[in-house]
Amino acid sequence: MPDADRAAAVAPIVVGIGTYNNAGTIAAIARAVRDGLCRDFSVRDSRIVLADGGSTDGTPDLVREALGDAAGRLVQVGYPLHPVDLFDAPYHGLPGRGRALAAILGAARELGAQVCTVLDANAEGLAPGWLAALIRPVLDDAFDFVAPYYARAPHEGALTRSIVYPVFRALYGVRIRQPMAGDFSCSGRLVEHFLGQEGWQDGARAVGVDIWTTTAAVCGGFRLCEVALGARRHETRGDAPDLSMTIVQVVGALFAGAERRAEFWQRVRGSSAVPVFGQPTEAGDGSPIEIGRLIEAFRLGHRELRDVWAAVLPPATGVALNRLAQADRPSFAMDDDLWARIIYDFAIGHRLRVLPADHLLRALTPLYLGWLAAFLEQAGTAGAAAVEERIERLSLAFERQKPYLISRWRWPERFNA
């Protein structure tokens, strides 16, 4: 697009949705987007970018229909979907999400967007005020990156709470609760920055593109904030991966990012909060989890995977895990510093390619279930404030153990080489 046209074609607000066969949820989302834009902004200044990977269930038509009068504001772009994308179901449900995001960001640049908000097509219950909440901090307060802060019940989002958040916070020094959320807003400046980086749309990294965007925003020195959005439910699809696969994808993306950004995070000390817009709320209790089964899964993993663990975990950790495997339920507790060191040792094992990444990360699953059991056992019926406090203590342990990670990262022990 020539520069003159670009200046003329200003659409300050771009809302992007990546889709692939999302007929089940997309109409509600499209209506919520239309209503949100109508309510809080001028629809004339907005475009809705639909990046569709070639849906066969009529997703784009449903969007057009749902938008009604606003369908004229729809910009549909395609993104290439490779057969391999469909083979490995990603945890976020959108195959080829990296390329979908690239298509949305590219369109946002072409449209001269001041703010580009990306929404997850799998999520349900997009409340009317959310869109404005995600957009306003960029337009009104010159933030570059707006991350959502969803309320979650104590046992929900445990993978984020127990690994992603504390590791991200300890490494990059920024307290973003959900650094791999599928919804976020970014400024035009940040859109340019994202598009200027290479190698994130394709390959293994594409699965973890959500954490990639947050990391790129932090490492690029951009202004970040969070918005509290209440509870949001994600549709569980029939092809959603199991827990092990989710760990492979989520933790794998986190670790791969750490490898690429070592130069940055090894200079970061401590952490600081980012501004939060809105009031974080409590989510309901959600469905209960059978703690006994988690402990059993940990014990089974301990029996079967001890030798794999020994390839990355030092002997002292091995001894502590042996002790835990023998503990009965009332005394089943995992020390925060021990958990932090376990995650860090897996990160180092991942970096040194001690085992194929998939095998290594799958072996983390029972350890994670053990941690979750201990966490739920302790959290019990505690309220959200107590859970918050618990996560804060855990995060401080990850920060405290960061020198452990750095020293071994730089000078691996290779005790089982």
Binding site: R269, G270, P403, I406, R410, W411, A417
Partner: protein
């Protein structure tokens, strides 16, 4: 089709870790006893795992191999022993795919006497453009002020050619006639040769023997203004057509003369710091930092886009040309008790034997290589402490097959041992059965793992490649402390050149309040105050500290 250079950052060479290797010596892919591109391709994973970011290949062009390929007979092809042009392209792409840059050797001063240009010149009538590709004379008395470089092999820089009925000029071996850069057609041809490789995607050239391009009566024929003009034109030619490519000058000259090869940032991007290298060895043996601090004090600043290339050992002898007679005598006594190790004006040995196989000394010198301002170059095999063989003649003793395993032919080739281009090193200390990649990969305490860690650590700190250097002068001369700075990044390096434990009192009062964090183990040391900062260093120990501001 022109393929773009592989680097995104135009100054990529400033953060590079260069690995120098000879295709012939690295790995034999077709089992004919000679290393080749197919073999090198198989070993790229090893190099990537090692962590090096740039490969510098010694000459691989068709050649009669009377000077190990520095006698080029055809600039646009690959020596059949090493493979084909297609093999080269495959290798280049694979290296780029792994994020590695590739720098090749270009001998621009001379060709082989077998090159078509020379064969044509000697038969062409005097004064004709073909004849004028080289430097001819009816007498061997011109340019008498130019020294002879290969004193052990050549008596004069002129050799009589019976076909041409004239003498031709050569600064090196008599089978390597010098090109005549007073003839514009020569530069035009050389530029075409460069385009040939740059179009393929090659990331840079090492320009061999660059001070000798032009001759003038009454001078020593080195570093002449006319030579610099040729280099400027080469650079302008490349900059006009390509991005992200690099020229590395081989100019074995005093620092002030080498400085000229950077020009105003309009000649070479990089040049070797030849005078520093032997003085590092000298300081180590003297257990005294002054040879290093003296030469660094005489090292001029460079234009922003330029960078020193640093090395401990390379494919040549440890050259002592840039030393005084007395310094040279010291070096011979210190490092070549066996006269067989001496060659020309230097010592033909690898790093490990020069260090008496002392792991601590190897590590200390490598720490200096990695923490001095410039881009470090590792010579193949030195990452495992490979040995040499001073009885192989010329510099062949440091160009023996890479030692991959303890198997036959050091795992370099499956050919009959008699077919190898060179015998493998077999001595009981540094030979392939004691020193090889396979064994060291399985040994967590090996030099190879140590090197991997150091390379990876150095890559985390751009300040080590790009920052300024400032030497501290504690009373104990056996200790070498220096500060490296780049913006907010400050690193304190302290090296003990002695074989015994040493104390050091450092005046760091200007850095009052900073906390030194030892970089290898991320260990916090006591904060710096106004009193002298006291350190104790074990034998040949070195410390790197990142200086962090105290936490509030």
């Amino acid at each position: 089709m022109t393929i773009a250079g592989s680097a995104r950052d135009a100054h990529w060479y400033k953060d590079a870790i260069i690995y120098e290797l000879h295709v012939k010596a690295f790995f034999d892919g077709n089992n004919d006893g000679i290393g080749d591109f197919a073999g090198l391709l198989q070993k790229l994973d090893y190099l990537q795992e090692l962590g090096v970011t740039c490969l510098w290949l010694l000459p691989f062009f068709p050649s009669p191999l009377r000077d190990d390929g520095y006698d080029i007979a055809d600039y646009r092809n690959v020596h059949p022993g090493y493979g084909t042009l297609e093999d080269f392209r495959t290798f280049l792409k694979a290296a780029h795919d792994r994020g590695m840059q590739v720098v090749i050797e270009l001998v621009v001063n001379h060709t082989s006497d077998q090159h078509a240009w020379f064969q044509r010149a000697r038969k062409a009538p005097p004064g004709s453009p073909e004849r004028e590709f080289y430097v001819w004379s009816d007498s061997d008395q011109r340019y008498r002020d130019a020294r002879t470089i290969f004193v052990d092999a050549e008596r004069s820089n002129w050799t009589w050619d019976p076909d041409a009925h004239a003498y031709y000029w050569h600064r090196f071996f008599s089978h390597q006639p010098d090109l005549n850069y007073d003839n514009p057609a020569v530069l035009a041809e050389i530029e075409k040769v460069m385009d040939f490789w740059l179009d393929m995607g090659v990331d840079g050239f090492r320009l061999d023997a660059v001070p000798y391009l032009v001759e003038r009566e009454g001078t020593n024929c080195e570093n002449l203004p006319e030579t610099h003009e040729v280099i400027r034109r080469i650079r302008a030619h490349i900059d006009g057509r390509y991005g992200g490519r690099m020229l590395l000058a081989e100019a074995n000259q005093p620092p002030s003369d080498v400085r000229a090869y950077f020009g105003d940032g309009d000649e070479c991007h990089m040049a070797f710091h030849f005078p520093l290298m032997p003085r590092i060895f000298m300081a180590l043996h003297l257990e005294d930092r002054s040879p290093i601090t003296d030469i660094m004090a005489r090292t001029p600043d460079l234009p922003d886009s330029c960078q020193w290339a640093l090395f401990l050992r390379n494919h040549d002898e440890l050259t002592l040309e840039m030393m005084t007679d007395e310094e040279r005598d010291y070096m011979y006594l210190a490092y070549s008790a066996d006269p067989q190790a001496r060659l020309n004006v230097g010592i033909r040995r690898r790093l490990a034997p020069l260090m008496g196989n002392s792991r601590r000394r190897i590590e200390l010198l490598t720490s200096l290589l990695f923490s001095f301002p410039g881009t470090p170059i590792i010579y193949y095999g030195d990452e495992i402490g490979m040995g040499d063989n001073v009885y192989l003649g010329d510099r062949n003793g440091v160009r023996t097959p890479m030692q991959w395993t303890g198997d036959r032919n050091a795992g370099f080739s499956r050919a009959h041992p008699a077919r190898l281009y060179s015998p493998v090193v077999m001595d009981p200390v540094n030979g392939y059965q004691a020193v090889n990649v396979e064994a060291q990969e399985g040994d967590p305490a090996s030099l190879l793992h140590w090197m991997k860690n150091m390379i990876s650590l150095r890559k985390l700190f751009r300040v080590l490649g790009r920052g300024s250097i400032e030497f501290l002068q504690p009373a104990n001369g056996k200790v070498l402390p220096y500060l490296r700075r780049d913006g907010d990044d400050i690193i304190l390096c302290v090296a003990n050149l002695s074989r015994f434990t040493q104390p050091a009192e450092l005046d760091l009062s200007a850095l009052n309040g900073y906390v030194p964090v030892e970089m290898l183990g991320y260990t916090e040391f006591p904060p710096i105050g106004t009193l002298p900062y006291f350190l104790t260093l074990g034998p040949y120990a070195f410390y790197w500290f990142e200086l962090q501001r105290a936490r509030r």
